[in-house]
């Protein structure tokens, strides 16, 4: 029987899963790009990002180039947690497949 407790509940939520997935594709994402890609409201996105940041999965960088910009990236812990989450999903899918 599969142990569902292995699923990281912080990542498993739909909105946060989308954020983690996007952050895994590039070194960093500006807030506005994340918002446009995920079609989330500012408040919703900020809340999810804060949860991920508090869990140590996401790093926040505030920088000033032409104008102030906040960008987000996976931390080493976040990258590992995302890989482990994917591995657990694959285990679940494979566990349900009929054996030959």
């Amino acid at each position: 029987m599969f142990d569902f407790e292995k699923l990281d509940k912080t990542i498993h939520e739909k909105g946060r899963l989308g954020i983690m997935t996007l952050l895994a594709t590039r070194p960093s994402w500006p807030f506005q790009d994340l918002k446009a890609e995920l079609k989330m409201s500012d408040g919703n996105l900020v809340t999810h990002l804060r949860t991920l940041h508090d869990a140590g999965l996401v790093a926040v960088t505030r920088e000033v180039l032409d104008r102030p910009q906040t960008s987000y990236a996976l931390t080493a812990k976040g990258r590992t947690a995302f890989r482990e989450y994917l591995a657990v999903l694959e285990q679940i899918v494979n566990a349900g497949k009929p054996r030959r």
């Binding site: 599969f2 569902f4 498993h12 739909k14 899963l17 989308g18 997935t21 996007l22 895994a24 594709t25 590039r26 070194p27 960093s28 890609e37 940041h53 140590g56 996401v58 790093a59 926040v60 960088t61 505030r62 920088e63 000033v64 180039l65 990236a73 996976l74 931390t75 080493a76 812990k77 990258r79 994917l86 999903l89 694959e90 679940i92 899918v93 566990a95 349900g96």
Partner: protein, 214 residues
Amino acid sequence: MSIRTEAEENLRVIRSLMEKATVYRAISAPGALVGGLGAIAIAVHGIWLSHRSSSVLLRFALPWLGLLVITAGINIALLAREALRRGDPFFSPGMRLALRAMLPALLGGGAAALAFGLSEPEMLACLWVLFYGISLLAAAHFAPKSICWLGRAFFVAGFLLLACTPFVGFWPKIGDIAAVAHGIMGATFGLFHLVYAVCTWPRNRAAETTGGEP
């Protein structure tokens, strides 16, 4: 929804988001800088020595193919270092995507070298510019904007050079054909790559990161 269906649905969402969001920079700024400076050096040297009566292959095709090998090697080394820094495999999904998209047009440039490398360097230069532009544009849907602009610049330059040929007469009338070809290569592969390197060079920013190192 069963946990397995939910897991399958989540994996589908993850795959689709990753495919949509993958951005791959196939040309690094330092690689472009080395390539651009090398191209200008070869072009100037080629034009300077264009009066020498050695074969077109020696005067034009071989120096440029040599530069291609050197800059491709440097670019691969820089991309590998960047992949290592991020903890990604060198043959990342992004790189595989880029190779699949760009390879046909790059092979077209290789075929043009076989067809015109010995006799018509000016045509070869125009076709290399055009094919290189097409290869960069083929990667446009997952490349950063700067690569798209570089691709457009090469494509437009190659297109105009080829399209204008019938109206300005044959290139040799302008001057020595190898010198003309070197000029085309220096003005495009040299200058365009230098502009790209300047525009995409990583800049020092005042930044404050919280939550751990990205």
